[in-house]
């Protein structure tokens, strides 16, 4: 395999699968950098919280990116459909790490505390439901399940919209005061969802 730096210039050399794998690997870099810094002790006084928050944001961004693929093809005419699955899997991976940093690293898998969290704290209930959906989508993203589910696959994967909405609510409730960032991201989510609702698909959607 040539050094990673050449990937951009000579993409055509790589098979589609290889390009997917490369994108996934590059997508993991910011998280791996955070973890490296956290282990080295250069993330400040509370590295667990830094990673918890950073990974939540990465998950959200990759979720948005995965949902931008279809509008980009439809309205700009650039077909990046090959990259949708790795983007979705990145969203799932970061969400799983985000959940680990809460459930494992800060809550030490304490069942009764987590049960109270998920049942009585709305912002965590929303995050939990969003994560469950991402788990199902990731589990049904292999070639084999896609083939096995046939037309039902598209139906199942429409739940990604629900995950996005739930994640938006979770994000905006995640602070002591109202922060502006969640609303900016929610705005992007509304645009991405709106493009699907208000415009008739020009071609058969995938």
């Amino acid at each position: 395999m040539p050094p990673a730096g050449q990937a951009g210039r000579k993409t055509s050399r790589f098979s589609p699968l290889m390009r997917q794998v490369l994108l996934y690997a590059f997508g993991l870099v910011p998280g791996l950098l955070d973890i490296t810094q956290g282990v080295l002790g250069t993330l400040g006084a509370n590295p667990v919280a830094v990673c918890l928050h950073a990974f939540g944001r990465y998950a959200f961004r990759f979720l948005l990116l995965s949902l931008a693929i279809t509008p980009v093809r439809r309205f700009i005419g650039v077909n990046l459909i090959l990259y949708r699955r790795p983007l979705g899997l990145l969203a799932f991976t970061y969400a799983a790490a985000h959940v680990f940093f809460y459930v494992g690293a800060t809550r030490h898998f304490e069942g009764h505390i987590l049960w109270r969290d998920f049942t009585s704290r709305p912002f965590l209930t929303f995050g939990f439901l969003a994560f469950l959906i991402l788990v199902v989508l990731a589990a049904t993203s292999t070639k084999r399940t896609i083939r096995a589910l046939g037309r039902k696959w598209a139906v199942v994967h429409r739940f990604v919209y629900a995950a996005l909405v739930l994640a938006c609510v979770h994000y905006s409730l995640a602070f002591k005061t109202w922060h502006i960032e969640p609303f900016i991201y929610a705005g992007m989510a509304v645009v991405l969802l709106g493009l699907r609702v208000f415009k008739k698909p020009a071609r058969q959607s995938v």
Binding site: G38, L43, A45, N46, H108, F123, L173, K176
Partner: protein, 318 residues
């Protein structure tokens, strides 16, 4: 000063003995007034063997939090909402010249210059646990004097029931005060009941780790009420007013169902969005496993302060 009979547990109980003794040696070496303060008082009680110290439920993790963590990780929304913002964005703040007005229902209202205040009331070291409402905690060596000393000098009138504190508004020096649609209202305000304010644990801190308070920690003078959540300990105080009515307090105004006026540390009363049963110990643990310990009622200072709340339902008046 007459108020030194209270400290149970003394400082030596929350500091591992070897650290405590080395600190003591340093203080005695300096021969400063600090040694005559609360730390010096703790010395006489240091005869208890270390095992007894551990048996009281304050294990060795009660050593002071590393200085770099204390000075780089805290909330001070005037500078920004991230915990790194105060240290990173407080460079423009000018803590001197500074004056503190003491007024309201007192016989001797006065505007104090900060240095006159320190000269008058001195500085003693107090090693206090600090429990943030966000469920993390530190152990901080403050320098300061008892708020009670200042209040007694002001001579509260008979009708005084509460103490209202006001911080500072300087958008030019405090980036967190510039705009922000949903931000807290400025100035930050806090309050205590008069008996809480007069309690010998209640400190006006002017230093930390043996140095003047840095900007991010509330320079040049801040409150420290160790049995209450950190947000009660208002920073950069400009005015202390004795009143007959419960004063408004910033976080309570923002979200009354989440932050009460009393805000006593209480593991039984959860914040709506997170459990208060335990707390993360800043400066310990690893990226994959944060160090935690159970939270104690009144942050472990129940022996000293529980009497203040005997007749109150702490679940209702949280």
């Amino acid at each position: 000063m007459p108020s030194f009979h209270y400290p149970v547990p003394p400082v030596c109980e929350i500091t591992p003995r070897h650290l405590f003794m080395s600190r003591r040696a340093a203080l005695l070496g300096v021969g400063s007034a600090v040694a005559a303060g609360i730390v010096g008082n703790g010395v006489s009680r240091a005869a208890a063997p270390p095992e007894a110290v551990l048996a009281r439920g304050w294990p060795a993790q009660q050593a002071p939090t590393p200085k770099k963590d204390v000075l780089s990780y805290n909330n001070f929304y005037e500078f920004g909402t991230d915990k790194s913002d105060p240290a990173e964005l407080s460079g423009d703040f000018k803590p001197r010249p500074w004056s503190v007005v003491v007024d309201g229902l007192v016989d001797n209202p006065r505007t104090w210059d900060i240095d006159a205040l320190i000269k008058q009331f001195g500085q003693q070291e107090r090693l206090y646990r600090m429990r943030c409402v966000e469920a993390w905690s530190m152990v901080v060596p403050w320098l300061g004097f008892e708020l009670g000393a200042l209040l007694r000098a002001a001579a509260p009138k008979a009708g005084a029931r509460y103490v209202a504190f006001t911080s500072v508004v300087r958008p030019a020096e405090m980036p967190g005060q510039r705009g922000g649609l949903f931000s807290l209202k400025w100035p930050y305000v806090e309050g205590l009941r008069l008996d809480e304010a007069l309690h010998p644990l209640t400190l006006l801190a002017t230093g930390v780790y043996g140095e003047p308070l840095p900007n991010q920690s509330g320079a040049p003078i801040r409150l420290v009420v160790p049995w209450k959540y950190g947000f009660k300990s208002i920073k950069s105080i400009t005015r202390i007013t004795l009143t007959d009515q419960q004063p408004p307090t910033s976080w309570n105004q923002m979200a009354p169902n989440e932050y009460g006026f009393y805000a006593n540390v209480n593991p039984m009363v959860d914040h709506p969005r997170w459990s208060q049963a335990s707390e993360q110990i800043i400066g310990e643990g690893s990226l994959f496993s944060a160090a935690r310990k159970p939270t104690e009622l009144f942050n472990g200072y129940g022996q000293q302060v529980a009497g203040l709340y005997k007749t109150m339902d702490l679940r209702k008046e949280f």
